[in-house]
Amino acid sequence: MKPAVVTALVLVLVVPRPAAAYLKFGVTAGGRAVTLKWRQIPVRYFVSARSAVPGVAVADFEAAVARAFARWEAVPTASIAYSYGGLTVAHPGEDDGTSTLGFENHPELDRVLASTSFVIDEANGTLLESDIFFNASFDWSVAAAGETGRYDVESIALHEIGHFSGLSHSALGETELRAGGGRRVLGAEAVMFPIAFAAGSISGRTLRADDIAGISDIYPTGDFSQTGSVSGRVTKNGQGLYGAHIVAFDPATGDLVGGFSLTARGEFSIGGLSPGPKVIRVEPLDDADIDSFFDASTPIDLNFRVEFSSRLAVVPRGGDSGAVELSVVSK
């Protein structure tokens, strides 16, 4: 049972990541997929004693990441909890048994604001250690209202702590190509959307319905049993479509929660939804790099039009909507 180090999601500045739903990290153990998660809660974390960059003192950094941890902890339908172990001389990324957050200078990673790495028990998917490094080669801020030209520590920490806790990326967002390459985020409705808002923005400090559904799915409390799910199938020319992005929208509350079709038959399931009717939308993953969400070797069909289901999917309390059939056509 040798732990294996897995380098996980990086926050890419300009690389496209389409908009949509939450994914969970997982490994195959004993022939079946298991979700990566912490089993010893509260999860203890440390801050590197060298976590100071211009404009951000170590104490500022500690306070900002504490606020970000507290936001995840405050989700009422999730049981995840964290505890702060204090300052450490360790570096983030070291396989030392302590989960460490801190700044590291990596100018060669010119599109990476921050990155999360894991040590996991491959036998059962247990997270044993997780480190987050923030790239000191960028300009950072902890100002309450944000600071022009500087990335907000709290916003980026909130995203990375989502990874730290076992969440992968959400595709709930829209981007546009930039003239110099890469993409710019037009809007996102998930902290776990892979591309950060522009420097100076603090819009990423608030967890959205998609993030809440995701973290609650991994660490559910009893209240989570009062939510339900939508499941169904996406087809094109009668064949299952893998990797389509499906969004469930609540016309009563305005909440958006997304998911993907994850089998060769095009089947999908989106959990953590409030009971009631939902509008279902399907779109191709054409806003970003496919490997932000799936293995790069997996063929993903992007050639289809955005469609809505012609029937409202009714989410029952503690149950599933029943099969929603989404048929798409080529562009």
Partner: protein
């Protein structure tokens, strides 16, 4: 606020009758049974934006929805017991299958507009008071009334996977027209029509607010001997 005088006047106009001085009252039977149909009017459930948050904190709409609780026909039955010569206590039940319809428009990626729907099975059981005001009409077989009541409401989605319970309060007015009246056990046979405004709360259709809609009812009634 529903004004009783206005409702009564409306009923009079609907009957094509004019108010005259009080005359003898001809619905004195102790019990009444009525069955018939009802029309439940449509009601708006509002507009909602599927909004993404922009870096500035403002919203970028992915698409927009406008939802309605559709109009539909249903069945209604009621029994009444005379409390006083001019007041009946009623119990009633009704079933209907209204549809929730959500129109989706203005998609950010130009998806074709669509209307998504779901049919709801709706059951109501309740009670109320019906009052015959001390007026009469020239056509002596026509009897105006005003009524108000409350009902327990149960709504079940098409897939039978989600049910919700709520309450409905209604008020309005109408007329009873006697078709036949004789000295038998079923002394009086007639038709009844009323118009009401119904306010329902906490139903499955967007539980966040009350739904107000018009209801029209037409029934055949049978009234026992005094």
């Amino acid at each position: 606020m529903i004004n009783g005088r206005a409702l009564l006047a409306t009923c009079m106009v609907l009957c094509g009758a004019s108010l005259v001085s009080a005359q003898s009252f001809d619905l004195a039977g102790r019990y009444e049974v009525a069955v018939g149909g009802q029309w439940l009017g449509a009601s708006s459930l509002g507009t909602q934006n599927a909004a993404l948050t922009m870096g500035s904190g403002t919203a970028l709409n992915l698409f927009q929805t406008t939802s309605t609780f559709g109009g539909t026909l249903g069945l209604e039955a009621r029994v009444a017991r005379r409390l006083t010569p001019r007041v009946d206590l009623e119990a009633f039940g009704g079933v209907a299958r209204p549809a929730i319809e959500t129109s989706v428009t203005n998609d950010f990626e130009n998806a074709a507009p669509v209307t998504a729907s779901d049919t709801v099975k709706q059951f109501a059981i309740g009670g109320g008071l019906l009052w015959y005001p001390p007026v009469h009409v020239r056509a002596t077989r026509v009897h105006p009334f005003v009524l108000g009541g409350a009902a327990y409401l149960r709504q079940l989605h098409e897939s039978d996977t989600l049910a919700a319970n709520g309450a409905e309060f209604d008020g309005g007015g109408g007329v009873k027209i006697i078709l036949r009246s004789r000295a038998s056990r079923l002394r009086t046979v007639g038709v009844r029509a009323d118009a009401r405004l119904a306010v329902s709360t906490r139903g499955v259709a967007f539980a966040s607010g009350a739904i107000v809609r018009p209801v029209l009812t037409a029934e055949l009634f049978f009234r026992s001997q005094p």
